[in-house]
């Protein structure tokens, strides 16, 4: 017995939303970054679920692409974060507001 695909879809949607809201409410840059990863993986979960529902393996192969991209993002993102917050104890996004208006 397997669960109906829609459960996975809903779960993915919830994860996506949690990621999105997390991004909006958290000030720590690293946490924000993790929220984005959460969103990406929610998308991955959706892909896989649809792949199963549609009986099409293409969707699952797409996940690999996404994982690679996410990894690249991690590298660059962390690099940027490190470059900025090298000399700091905490890393909050709100400290960056020189550019505005």
């Amino acid at each position: 017995m397997s669960l109906d695909g829609s459960y996975y879809l809903v779960l993915a949607a919830v994860l996506f939303t949690i990621g999105g809201i997390g991004l909006l409410v958290r000030r720590n840059v690293l946490v924000m970054f993790m929220c984005i990863e959460l969103m990406l993986n929610a998308a991955n979960l959706t892909f896989v679920t649809f792949s199963r529902m549609l009986n099409d393996i293409g969707g699952q192969s797409l996940v690999f692409f996404v994982l690679v991209v996410a990894a690249a993002e991690v590298v660059v993102g962390l690099g940027i974060i490190v470059a900025i917050f090298r000399r700091r104890a905490d890393a909050t996004a709100d400290d960056l507001n020189v550019l505005k208006g």
Binding site: L23, V29, L40, A42, F47, L62, A83, I84
Partner: protein
């Protein structure tokens, strides 16, 4: 076919179709390798030259492909993931030009700031390749890959000036928001896949043509998220908020390049997705695009009025330009599409040229970007001032420049589609636009501030000079004789 049930078939790869991308990526890898293997210092300007040459090569390849397409007709390749058509080649040309001009502007900048090195150019070429993949993509996942390649390279470029705090801030903001929007886009891809069973644009289109969906919520949701993701890239309001900050904070040549390439690629993806895959759902996306266009036009123009920093001003003005391109898109017609393409082509020259001037005037430290820094420029550097004036006036839409034709083209499309309010809004935003462009022009031609003792004059190095000449020549020459580029943009849609 990427995959077929029961067996893995290696698709046929037509290398010429992705030759420009391959050239840029190849050169990028070679440069990186050579630079890291050798410990000797390289002559100044070498990397810029190599990059420009690579850009020229990719331009040649794109032009060759364009002619091929003209004579043989369009097709898809690599399992249908890549489209070889006038549209693709059009954007390949535009992006190659952006690479060439961007490299030429950057050369002087990097040397001046003591940042010269291969990394910058490698990143630029990689990002260009990503942008190109976005443009030629006939598959949502390829769009995504191109988008990410482009974006990740740009995140780094934005923070390239390690000495400036603004640069870091720009990079981080761009990164956080860019990733956020990428995630949204990806989720949109997933939903679309779920609703139609494919990520291939042509197949999505065919599916929509062949089936009537009873419950299309997933599909519509996916489409909405796709629009958001790409709307972010083109800095459509309300997804624009990153762009002023990033434009201001990034090293100026990056800003110019980014404004041209990222916007072109974003629109390439958006237009292709909406027309090719969702052309039949026009009724669903047209209102959204119309509203986006309207809001983008107004916010861009109105906010530019109150700016005192030239880069921010140009950032908002580029938001306004995005609004114009969206006007063409909102017409949802062939004329509108070619209008949008035309606009992007001429915009590339205007914006890189403009930021070229801004780079010069920023001088060492890349910090003199207040509008007051432009006072009396005409006296000190009449040619630079004249070129800047020309490019700004062209952006304002003065006749006999490509800038006017671009605006005309999209507005004509809007009128033809009977969206009169949007057309009027667009042209009124151009009126507001004229205000801030003219303000800068007049500042250049007024007397310099007495207090501003100029330690450093505005230099005009040959690379940037070439860019300025090219940009202004293009702007005026094709403003006078627009036939060739109008045809070019027109063909890009006919062969679609």
């Amino acid at each position: 076919m990427i995959a077929a049930i029961g067996g893995f078939v290696v698709p046929h790869i037509e290398y010429t179709a992705i030759l420009p991308e391959l050239i840029l990526l190849g050169v990028a890898i070679i440069v990186m390798t050579v630079a890291s293997l050798s410990s000797r210092p390289f002559p100044a300007g070498l990397w810029a030259g190599v990059t420009a040459a690579a850009g020229a090569a990719s331009l040649g390849a794109a032009w060759y492909m364009s002619n091929q397409v003209n004579s043989r007709g369009p097709h898809t390749t690599i399992a249908g993931a890549i489209a070889v058509d006038g549209y693709s080649e059009f954007f390949l040309v535009v992006l190659s030009i952006a690479v060439i001009l961007g490299a030429l502007v950057a050369d002087n900048f990097l040397r001046r700031e003591g940042l010269d090195g291969p990394e910058f150019y490698v990143l630029a070429m990689v990002s260009a390749a990503g942008a190109m993949f976005m443009s030629v993509a006939n598959d949502l996942i390829v769009v995504f890959l191109g988008l990410e390649t482009l974006s990740i390279a740009l995140y780094v470029l934005a923070g390239y000036n390690a000495r400036r705090r603004e640069s870091h801030e720009a990079a981080l903001k761009y990164f956080v928001l860019g990733s956020f929007s990428s995630a949204i886009f990806l989720y949109g891809v997933a939903l679309t896949y779920g609703a139609t069973g494919s990520t291939n644009l042509a197949r999505i289109g065919a599916f929509l043509a062949g089936n009537v969906l009873v419950s299309n919520g997933v599909l519509l949701g996916g489409l909405a998220l796709l629009i958001v993701g790409l709307g972010f890239k083109v800095a459509a309001v309300p997804f624009h908020s990153w762009s002023p900050d990033v434009y201001q904070g990034s090293p100026t040549p990056v800003t110019g390049y980014m404004a041209a390439a990222a916007k072109a690629a974003g629109f390439a993806g958006l237009l292709r997705v909406l027309f090719s895959a969702f052309g039949l759902m026009r009724a669903d996306w047209q209102p959204i695009i119309t509203v986006l266009a309207a809001v983008t036009l107004v916010v861009g123009a109105v906010l530019a009025v109150v700016q005192t920093d030239i880069k921010r001003l140009l950032a908002y003005s580029s938001i306004n330009h995005a609004g114009f391109v969206l006007v063409g898109l909102a017409a949802a017609s062939a004329a509108g599409l070619s209008g949008s393409l035309f606009y992007l082509l001429v915009y590339t020259f205007m914006v890189i040229g403009s930021f070229g001037v801004v780079t010069l005037v920023g001088r060492t430290g890349d910090a003199r970007h207040r509008l007051d820094d432009y006072r009396g420029l005409a006296r000190e550097r009449p040619i630079v001032a004249a070129v800047f004036a020309l490019l700004l006036l062209a952006q304002a839409g003065v006749p006999f420049t490509t800038g006017f034709l671009g605006k005309f083209y999209v507005i004509a499309a809007a009128v033809d589609a009977r969206s009169y309010p949007l057309a009027i809004l667009a042209i009124l935003s151009a009126v507001v636009g004229a205000f801030y462009y003219l303000r800068v022009v007049l500042l250049m031609y007024s007397d310099p501030l007495p207090a501003a003792g100029r330690a450093e004059g505005v230099a005009l190095p040959p690379g940037t000079a070439l860019v300025l000449v090219l940009a202004s020549l293009f702007t005026v020459a094709f403003g006078l004789v627009p036939g060739p580029i109008v045809d070019f943009a027109h063909r890009a849609t006919l062969l679609f």
